[in-house]
């Protein structure tokens, strides 16, 4: 196997004196969809944020395409084409949909703006209808689409998605997951996904990691994890979406 695109080795992250991540190892290879599942407060989002350099890991290393990015500031990490749809979507509420997308294309100074906007609009036709509307007036699902679309505008090599299903109706979650799958199949986009919606995420993913109290306790292919009785008991039974 070739070297992984993203390689997280023994990462420990602290909030003050509280250890949120306790020696996490995760790797993501080119062309994969990898998901990280776990309960509330397991440290999933912390891992995502640590990859992006805010907060930085106290020990361990994170490398992207063989380059060590552990100590890089967030905006430099983003410049390596690691795009993120952050937790809570974090779109720009007073700016229009189109302006939001424009901000996503800041890295290339809008060189491919028109082509990329068309691509995003094909993927999420709803955004095309709403292009002149303010981001803050969109529904939750549309905001999530916009957040992903904005991340895609940077032509990422790796797309990080933090809880894309948060607070959305099942039908909309399905649409978003399908869009992610489509991006992966058609464009070969590598996706690293953090989810509480374990069933949907694992079904979508090539591989998955399970996180408990700041440690990765299990890993395997999406199918294996879905079939695993422990995973089923902890995350799937009684909560199937």
């Amino acid at each position: 196997m070739t070297a992984p695109l993203l390689n997280v080795r023994g990462v420990e992250t602290y909030y003050g004196n509280i250890r949120a991540l306790n020696g996490v190892d995760v790797e993501v290879h080119r062309g994969e969809i990898v998901s990280l599942i776990g309960a509330n407060g397991a440290g999933k989002s912390t891992l995502m944020m640590t990859i992006c350099g805010k907060p930085q890991a106290r020990s361990g290393s994170i490398s992207f395409e063989g380059q060590d990015i552990t100590r890089l500031p967030t905006h430099e990490i983003a410049r390596l084409r690691i795009a993120q749809s952050p937790e809570g979507r974090r779109i720009f509420p007073r700016m229009t949909v189109l302006e939001n997308l424009q901000m996503g294309a800041s890295l290339d100074n809008l060189k491919h703006f028109k082509d990329d906007v068309e691509k995003v609009f094909t993927l999420f036709p709803r955004l095309k209808e709403r292009q002149a509307q303010r981001g803050g007036t969109l529904s939750g699902g549309e905001q999530q689409m916009l957040s992903i679309g904005r991340a895609l505008m940077a032509r990422p090599k790796l797309l990080l998605l933090d809880e894309p299903s948060l607070g959305l109706a099942p039908l909309i979650i399905k649409g978003i997951f399908e869009a992610i799958k489509k991006l992966n199949k058609q464009e070969g986009l590598t996706v690293f996904l953090v989810e509480q919606n374990a069933f949907g995420a694992l079904k979508l993913s090539d591989r998955g990691y399970v996180m408990v109290n700041g440690r990765v306790t299990m890993s395997g292919t999406g199918k294996d994890l879905l079939a695993n009785p422990e995973v089923r008991a902890a995350y799937l039974e009684g909560g199937r979406h």
Binding site: C52, K54, P73, T74, H75, E76, A78, R79, A83, Q84, P86, R90, I91, F92, P93, R94, M95, T96, L98, E99, L101, Q102, M103, G104, S106, L107, N109, L110, K114, V117, Q131, A132, Q133, R134, G136, T137, L138, S139, G140, Q143, R150, A154
Partner: protein
């Protein structure tokens, strides 16, 4: 169904009764509020004794005005407003075609401003134009420019700056000191003042990079005070509270505005008057203000301007999109400060005198109030707010007829801040986002579509 008519009648009398009741209440409140402010007043007589002057008639007028006002409000204004609201809700939404005036507002305004001095001269003569061009024109335009400059920091980048007057001071003292000590001309020192102010903008920017909102406001407030206190206490250079006086006037391509034989008036064959210099200053500040607006409009369409606006919305999202928030903030501070510096050097050249007294916190507050009232980010709204606020306070000086009503001791200027505050409250109640609350989007694929005002409520869903 026989009692329909009597129901409406009783509703009417009920309304009147309620209005009367509320009128009595507001009368009592007014009485309570003003009895010590207006009704009784302590004063010192000629022998330094404390005496009590009584103004019962004035107090009665206050109370009656409040009661009548409240009665009319409850009995007539409120039902009328409710009715209009209901009618508006019932009427179908019609796309309103913007009138020619509102579409071309800024062009019309610029043309009007260019024509302003000649029109005034034609109306009131050269000597009479002094007051209108200088007190109204130049004074208002200085504040327009300052508010537009501050708008870059507060309106676009969303960094609450309460010490903006510091950069104004830096610009003013740059010109005042360098021209008195080294004899440099205004046109050389104008860019120098902008540059120095921008440098101070960066100096302020560095320590506050990690701060936002209230915390940022406190630090910038302190910064403004530090600059002022330095100006007061560094007496060897700045002459402290005495200020720098006798500052050289600006020239037009080397032509001086004085009574000499190669001065402007002599060259043009015009009678000698100080009005020409004021008119020259008017066009100068108009040019500087328009430059500020032009740069702001252009920057908004450029990556750095877009980054400012994104930064105002969400700093974390900005970083995750590869925007260096440090440089973005510093450029916002520097650009805003630069225009403050330009305005400052203009101020010095106009007054011919600068002292720390011109750069107190109140000035920062007034500029910020103009930005907020106008609608953060909207150049048109801010210009309108500046005209209303600064022009309004200037007009107060003109209202001498009020002395006839309130007696010869009444000086309307003293009520400036009261009216300022009242206007602020009224605007914020009726238009919480300022005069122009909608923001003009900068990205279009095909046609230009303004974001309508009804979409400007904040949404987090």
């Amino acid at each position: 169904m026989a009692n329909v008519a009597s129901t409406t009648a009783s509703a009417g009398s009920e309304l009147t009764a309620r209005a009367l009741r509320e009128a009595v209440f507001s009368g009592l409140i007014t009485l309570g509020l003003f009895v010590l402010f207006v009704g009784l007043k302590t004063d010192q007589n000629i022998r330094n004794e404390l005496i009590l002057t009584q103004h019962w008639v004035l107090l009665a007028i206050f109370v009656i005005v409040a009661m009548v006002g409240r009665f009319l409000m409850v009995a007539y204004a409120q039902p009328w407003l409710a009715q209009r609201k209901a009618a508006k809700a019932a009427a179908p939404e019609v796309a309103k075609e913007e009138s020619f005036f509102s579409r071309n507002f800024s062009k019309i305004a610029i043309v009007a401003l260019v024509l302003y001095p000649p029109v005034i001269i034609a109306l009131v003569g050269v000597q009479g134009s002094l007051k209108w061009v200088d007190n109204f024109g130049v004074q208002i335009l200085i504040y327009v420019m300052l508010a537009w400059g501050l708008n870059i920091v507060v309106g676009l980048a969303g960094l609450l700056d309460l010490g903006y007057v510091a950069f104004y001071a830096v610009g003013a003292y740059t010109y005042a000191l360098l021209s008195t000590y080294f004899g440099l001309s205004f046109w050389v020192l104008l860019p120098v003042a902008g540059l120095l102010a921008a440098c101070w903008g960066v100096v302020l920017g560095f320590p506050v990079l990690r701060l936002r909102g209230d915390y940022l406001a406190i630090v910038t407030l302190a910064f403004g005070e530090i600059i002022r206190l330095v100006l007061i206490n560094w007496t060897e250079v700045t002459k402290g509270t005495f200020g720098v006086s006798g500052i050289a006037k600006a020239t037009l391509f080397g032509i001086k505005f004085d009574a000499s034989k190669d001065g402007f008036a002599a060259l043009m064959g015009l009678p000698i008057s100080s009005a020409y210099y004021k008119i020259f200053l008017f066009y100068l500040i108009l040019g500087l203000a328009l430059l500020t607006a032009f740069v702001t409009i252009r920057l908004r369409r450029m990556p750095v301007g877009r980054a400012w606006e994104a930064l105002r919305e969400d700093e974390i999202a900005c970083r995750s999109l590869g925007i260096n928030t440090t440089t973005t903030k510093l450029t916002a501070f520097a650009t805003g400060a630069m225009f403050g510096g330009f305005a400052g050097s203009f101020f010095a050249v106009r007054q011919g005198f600068v002292s720390p007294e011109s750069f107190v916190f109140l000035e920062s507050a007034v500029i910020l109030a103009i930005v907020v009232l106008g609608g953060m980010g909207s150049l048109t709204g801010i210009a309108v707010a500046a005209v209303v606020m600064i022009g309004g306070t200037e007009i107060l000086r003109e209202l001498t007829f009020l002395k006839m009503i309130f007696g010869p001791n009444f000086t309307p200027e003293l009520y400036r801040m009261l009216i300022f505050g009242l206007a602020m409250v009224v605007v914020m109640v009726w238009k919480p986002r300022g005069f122009v609350g909608s923001r003009e989007p900068t990205a279009f694929l095909r046609e230009r579509r303004a974001v309508s005002g009804s979409f400007t409520k904040e949404g987090h869903g």
